[in-house]
């Protein structure tokens, strides 16, 4: 039985690789880019001419109109604001402010003189 099987395998035809036929595509004639360049130039020139000959659209001139302006909200003054005590206080504060600004902590005129203490003679 084993011999029979060997025989059937031996009798089976081997697969032979089939070479595919080379199909040659018909060569198309290439598009000449020079025509495209020419067309683009023509489009450009005609566009330029169109733009040059076209009348400019009238720009609307804005007419000045009155716009509502915000007005400051009026604050009511308290009666104190006009009293002499308040006015005197503000004057005193302004005066003290200038005094503080004028005060010099480091007064150079008060600096003590620099003197030379050792005489520099060798001890004999």
């Amino acid at each position: 039985m084993e011999n029979n099987m060997d025989q059937t395998i031996a009798e089976m035809p081997h697969e032979v690789p089939v070479q595919q036929p080379i199909v040659q595509k018909p060569q198309k004639k290439g598009f000449d880019l020079r025509y495209l360049f020419l067309v683009l130039i023509i489009i450009g020139i005609s566009g330029g001419l169109f733009a040059a000959t076209r009348k400019p659209a009238p720009i609307p001139i804005p007419t000045p109109t009155d716009t509502p302006t915000p007005s400051p909200k009026s604050k009511s003054l308290v009666p104190l604001a006009t009293q002499s005590a308040y006015l005197s206080l503000t004057q005193s504060i302004a005066s003290l402010s200038s005094q503080i600004q004028q005060m010099q902590v480091s007064d150079t005129t008060l600096s003590p003189p620099t003197i030379e203490l050792p005489l520099g003679f060798p001890n004999e």
């Binding site: 003054l77 308290v78 104190l80 503080i100 902590v105 520099g120």
Partner: protein
């Protein structure tokens, strides 16, 4: 004759306040003149000293001795004129109270007495060694002298700061009193704003007080063993005084904001 007397009286009346006002200014001018004189004499002394050290001749020794005596006398005079200027500054100070003024004037008086005794010794100088000995007397005392000088300067400036603080606190109290008196004029929201300003102003004063406490503490420790420590301590005091002045400056700007805000009820 009476007309002449009248004119003299008018002149005296017009010029007397100017003379009083200018006492520290004239003392300062005198001090500057003494400083110029000292510089010239010091240069002469240096030249004579270098010639003596170089040639060791009797002539150069004699010249060096003369120039040394001159320099020592002018050095002492310079310090006295400076102390006189400080004394005039104390006299003119309106912000310093009488106790402190008397304290600093005593310090200056003691130093002037020392310098007078120091100058009196110069008559007995007969050699360069004698001159060296007299000079060393001032050198050993100089730390104390400089300490007294710096304490007086700090005292003058501290009095100015304290006077400004007194005015500041007075204005703060007045502002607070005005707000309290007119409390009904303001809305609740406005009152809370005003109260916040008052708190900020009070805070600035508290910070000022902290700085002045630091200055007082540092000024009491100015009597140090070395000149460099005294100078360093003085620089720290100056820094603290600048910061204290800055707190007052910020506080007064807050007071201005407060008074501007006080005008409106809402």
């Amino acid at each position: 004759m009476p007309t002449v007397t009248k004119y003299i009286l008018i002149i005296v009346v017009f010029f007397l306040p100017a003379a009083v006002w200018a006492s520290s200014t004239s003392a300062y001018q005198e001090y500057l003149q003494e400083f110029d004189k000292y510089r010239t004499v010091l240069n002469d002394f240096k030249v004579a000293r270098s010639e003596y050290l170089k040639f060791k001749t009797l002539t150069s020794q004699q010249t060096a001795l003369e120039k040394t005596k001159q320099m020592l006398a002018d050095r002492s005079q310079l310090l006295r004129s400076y102390l006189q200027f400080l004394n005039e500054k104390l006299n003119e100070s309106k912000s310093m109270d009488a106790t402190n003024k008397a304290l600093y004037q005593t310090l200056i008086k003691n130093e002037v007495t020392f310098l007078n005794n120091h100058t009196a010794l110069m008559g007995s100088i007969g050699s360069i060694q004698d001159a060296d000995g007299v000079s060393k007397q001032l050198s050993s005392h100089y730390t104390l002298l400089e300490s007294s000088i710096y304490q007086t300067i700090v005292g003058l400036k501290f009095a100015e700061l304290t006077a400004l603080d007194t005015l500041y606190y007075d204005l703060f109290t007045k502002s607070n009193a005005l707000i309290e008196k007119n409390r009904s004029s303001y809305t609740a929201e406005k009152l809370s704003i005003l109260d916040r300003w008052l708190l900020q102003i009070q805070n600035k004063r508290d910070l000022f007080k902290q700085k002045t406490d630091e200055i007082t503490k540092e000024n009491s420790t100015l009597k140090s063993a070395s000149l460099s420590e005294i100078t360093a301590s003085y620089q720290r005091i100056l820094k603290s005084m600048s910061e204290a002045r800055q707190y007052l400056s910020e506080g007064i700007s807050f007071l201005q904001e407060l008074t501007a805000s006080m005008q409106y009820g809402e």
